[in-house]
Symmetry: C2
Subunit: 485 residues, 2 copies
C-alpha cells in the first residue's frame, strides 16, 4: 500500500484519511478485486493509528461496498458493480471571447418555477438535510434578544465579529491562516465572486475558468463586459495547469482565474494537491489573480476535505470566496471572502454594492458554528450526500444508454453525464421537462456552445422512489433518442 | 391664494395638501409676514374640503411655526427666524468622464468605524425611530413558524408573493400602476441600482446623474467602467431638465439617467411635478433609460408624498428602485425594483448577482406593511424627521459662519451646507473628526473634485444635547477656519 505512514489531521478525520489511502490504492490498481486488505493490527502499526481508528476505516470502506468481510479471513477488495467510464477531458477553443447568455438559460430558469417538477438538474437541497429546527431556533432567539440588530443596526466592520472569528478558526482547520480581521462577510458566495471580479478586472479583460463552468459565473463575466477564456479541464483532476501555463505566457493575456478547485460545479472534479500548489505559484508569478470558489469544500464525502488553493497563497493573490449556503443554510445568503491583498478595495466596493450584510443571521450562524454542533451536522450531511451520489450513480448506470460516461465526485452536489455523441442534451431537456423532470443541459455551462451531449444532475435530493423514477425516466428518454440516431 | 380648488388625494393627506398650498403661497411671496390667512369657513368652501380638514391644515401650519393665532382675529403669517439662504445651483463640467474614487472616501469610511464619534454626516437612523419591537416580533415569529423558509428554501419567483403584492399596492397609492408580477425583490435599493446599471449599460457608456450625487452611485459607475456625466442641479428643484435636454441631443451620448428625484441625497432637493413629467417624456423620446432611486419617497415631512417619475412612465423606460431601508428596517436589506420593460433581463441577472433574497424577512415585512400599522409608523417617522430637520437648521443658523447657505428639504434625511468660499470642507472634516464629530465633506459627492466648501449633514438622529453640541462644534470650527482665510 502506498503513502507515507504517520497520518496527519485531527482524530476525527484520521479514519477517513486512512480509508482514502486504501481506496486510492484500489483505484490505482495496487489493490485489485479479491486482494486481501492488511489486518487491523497491521494497519494500526503501519500508519501509527489506534486499533479503533483502523477498525473505523475498514467499516467505512465496507459501508461504501469497496471491501467485503469473509468469515475468519478478514477483509477483501470487493467486486464492483458495472461502472460507467469517466468523460474525456474538455478541449475548449484557445481564445478568449465575450459571453452571450443563450436563450436556453431563460427556458431553464422558467422551468425552475413550474410546479410539480422533479428538479434533478438543480442543486436544491432539502430541509431534512439541514439543521432547520436548530438554526431556526437560534435565529428566532437572536432576533428576539437583539431586535435592534435585526431591524436597524448596520455594521461598518465588514461583518459581525463572532462570525468572522468562527470563519477564521474554520479556515485554520483546513490550512488557511487568516485572522478575523481578514474576513469580509458577504451576501452569499456569489456576491463575494461578483465583488472580486469587479475589483480586479476591467471591461475587455480575459478571465480564465474551468470548462464546463457554473453558468452564473459566465453571466457575471458577460454583464461586466469581460471575456471568458475556457481552460481544458479533466473530469476528475480539474483544471489543466499545463493549459493555463500556456494561456498565460503573454503578460496581461489573462487578468484572473475564476476557479472551483474542490468539487467543481458541474463536473464534480477536485484538483490534486500537487496541481494546486503549482497553480498558485504559477498565477503569482504571472500576476494572474485567483478567485477561488470554495463553496463545496466542506462537503467532502470520500476522503478528507482538500485544502483550498488559499492554503498555498503567500502573496495575497488568492481571493477565497465561500458561504454557508451549501453546508448549513441556503436561504440565509451568508457568505464571505478572504480577499488577500485586495481587502481594502473589496471592503469599499461592498459598501457601494449592497452596503451591509444583515447581522442577526450572522450571529445565529456564529453561534451554530461555534457551539451548535456544526461538525456533527457536517458528518450527517456528508454521509447523506455520499449515499445519494452512490444511488444516483447506480440508477444512471442501470438506465442510461450504453456509451454514457459519468463523473465520480468525491464531494459536492453534482455529477456530469456525457451521453453518446449525437444525443442532443437540449432536446433531452425539453422532453424530460414535458415528462415532469428538470435536468440541466450541457450548453448552459460554456460560452462556446459545446457539451451538446452532456447534462448535469444533482444528488442534493433525499433519495426517494420519486427521484429514482425520475432518473430512470431521463435514462429512458435518452435511450429513445439514442435509438433514433 | 393661488392653486385650483378641489383638492385631490386620499382623505388622510388632504389637510397636508391644503397646508402645502398655503405654505407655497408664503414661499412665493403671495402671502407675506403679517398677512391674514383666510378663515376656516372660507378655506373649506374655496377648496371643497370639510371644516375639519381646514382646521387640521391650519393646526399643521401652526405646529410648523409658519402661522400664528391672534386672539379673536384668526391666523396670520408668522415672522420667520433668521434663515440662511439656499446654495446656488451646481455647474458641473459639460463632459462625461470616468470616475476615480478619491482617497478621501477611505478616510471617511474608516472614520465610520471609530468608536465614540457623533456621526452627523451619516444617514444612520436610530432604533427609537423604527418599529424595532413590533417588526422584531414578527420576524422571530415568521422564523419560528417557517424555519424551513428562513434556513433552506429558495424562491425562484423574484420575491415572496405577499411582499410583492404589498409593494404593488403601495405603488398604486402614489400613482404607479404595477401588478405584483412586475415587482422584483432585491437585497436593498443598492442591489436594485447595481442590477439596473449592469443590465442597461456597457463599459464606456455615459450615465447622467445629479450633481452633487450620492457617492456609492459614483463608485458603482467607476467599478463598472462607465462614465459619469454630472448634470446641473438646483438645491430645491433638483436636476435641470434643460441641461439634460442639451446633454442628450446627440443620440447615444447618454445611456441612462440615474436620479433621486425625491429628496435627493445629498441636496434634499425634490423635482416639481411639471419637471418630472417633462423629464420622463424627454428620456423616452431620446432612448435614455431612467434608473429612479425612490428610497426617500415615503419620508415626505412637508406636503404630500411626491409621485415618482415612474407614475408618468408609459413605455417601461423607467426602472424604479426602492427599499424599506429608509422607512422601516435599515438592517433587513430588503429592497425592490420595478424594472419596466427590462424585467426579464433583471430577473436573470439577479440570479447570477446574489441568487436570491432571503424570504423570512420578506414575509415579516409583508405582514407589517399589510396589517402592522405601516402608515401609523410612517406618520411618526415623518413627524420626527420634520422636527429634527427644523432643530438642525436652527442650530446651524445660530452657529455657522455668516455667508453659509443651506438646503431646505421637505423630506428625506439630509441637508447640504455651502460654507463661505475658501473654507475647505476636507480640512473641516479632519478637524471635526479630531473633535469627535463625523461630517461628510462635499468632494465625496462628485467625480470632478468640486464642492470643496460644502458638507452634508444628516438629521436622522434623535435630537439630543449631544447632537446639538456636535453641530455647534462643527460651526465653531468652520468659523475659526473662516476667520483664518
Amino acid at each position: 500500500m502506498p503513502g507515507t505512514p504517520h497520518l496527519e489531521g485531527s482524530n476525527d478525520y484520521l479514519y477517513r484519511e486512512l480509508a482514502g489511502r486504501i481506496a486510492a490504492a484500489m483505484r490505482s490498481g495496487t489493490l485489485r478485486v479479491g486482494d486481501r486488505i492488511a489486518s487491523v493490527r497491521r494497519l494500526s502499526s503501519q500508519y501509527s493509528v489506534s486499533i479503533s481508528t483502523a477498525v473505523q476505516a475498514l467499516r467505512y470502506l465496507e459501508n461504501q461496498r469497496l471491501i467485503e468481510a469473509r468469515p475468519k479471513s478478514g477483509f477483501f477488495v470487493a467486486a464492483q458493480p458495472r461502472e460507467l467510464p469517466e468523460p474525456a477531458p474538455s478541449h475548449p477553443p484557445a481564445s478568449a471571447r465575450y459571453v452571450v447568455t443563450p436563450p436556453l438559460l431563460r427556458d431553464y430558469i422558467e422551468a425552475l418555477t413550474l410546479p410539480g417538477m422533479v428538479r434533478l438538474g438543480v442543486l436544491l437541497p432539502e430541509p431534512s438535510m439541514f439543521p432547520v429546527e436548530r438554526l431556526g431556533r437560534l435565529l428566532a432567539a437572536t432576533t428576539r434578544r437583539h431586535p435592534e440588530l435585526a431591524i436597524v443596526h448596520h455594521n461598518y466592520e465588514s461583518g459581525a465579529e463572532p462570525l468572522r472569528r468562527a470563519i477564521a478558526r474554520r479556515s485554520l482547520d483546513c490550512g488557511v491562516r487568516v485572522s478575523a480581521d481578514e474576513v469580509v462577510v458577504t451576501g452569499g458566495c456569489l456576491e463575494a465572486i461578483t465583488l472580486a471580479l469587479r475589483t480586479i478586472a476591467r471591461a475587455g479583460d480575459a478571465i480564465a475558468l474551468e470548462s464546463p463552468a457554473y453558468f452564473p459565473l459566465l453571466q457575471n463575466i458577460e454583464s461586466l463586459g469581460l471575456k471568458a477564456l475556457e481552460i481544458p479541464t479533466h473530469p476528475r483532476t480539474g483544471l489543466s495547469v499545463d493549459a493555463l501555463d500556456l494561456a498565460t505566457q503573454k503578460p496581461g493575456a489573462v487578468r484572473a482565474l475564476l476557479i472551483v478547485p474542490t468539487y467543481s460545479n458541474p463536473l464534480g472534479s477536485s484538483m490534486p494537491e500537487e496541481n494546486r500548489k503549482r497553480l498558485v505559484a504559477l498565477c503569482a508569478e504571472r500576476d494572474v489573480a485567483i478567485i477561488e470558489d470554495d463553496v463545496y469544500g466542506e462537503v467532502a464525502f470520500e476522503g478528507p476535505r482538500p485544502r483550498p488553493l488559499k492554503a498555498w497563497d503567500e502573496t495575497g493573490n488568492v481571493l477565497l470566496c465561500s458561504s454557508f449556503g451549501k453546508t448549513v443554510a441556503p436561504a440565509l445568503r451568508i457568505g464571505w471572502i478572504l480577499p488577500g491583498r485586495h481587502q481594502r478595495a473589496i471592503e469599499l466596493l461592498k459598501l457601494a454594492h449592497t452596503m451591509f450584510t444583515p447581522q442577526a443571521p450572522q450571529l445565529a450562524l456564529a453561534e451554530f458554528v461555534a457551539n451548535g454542533g456544526y461538525d456533527h451536522h457536517l458528518r450527517r450531511l456528508r454521509a447523506a450526500l455520499r449515499e445519494q451520489a452512490r444511488k444516483m450513480r447506480e440508477t444512471i448506470t442501470a438506465h442510461f444508454p450504453a456509451g454514457a460516461r459519468i463523473t465520480r465526485p468525491s464531494g459536492g452536489y453534482v455529477m456530469w453525464i456525457e451521453l453518446p455523441p449525437g444525443i442532443d442534451a437540449v432536446d433531452l431537456f425539453h422532453r424530460a421537462r414535458a415528462a415532469g423532470v428538470l435536468i440541466a443541459p450541457g450548453p448552459l455551462f460554456t460560452s462556446t456552445n459545446r457539451f451538446r451531449n452532456c447534462i448535469r444532475l444533482s444528488f442534493a435530493h433525499t433519495w426517494t422512489r420519486t427521484i429514482e423514477d425520475a432518473v430512470a425516466r431521463v435514462g429512458r428518454i435518452a435511450r429513445e433518442l439514442d435509438s433514433q440516431r
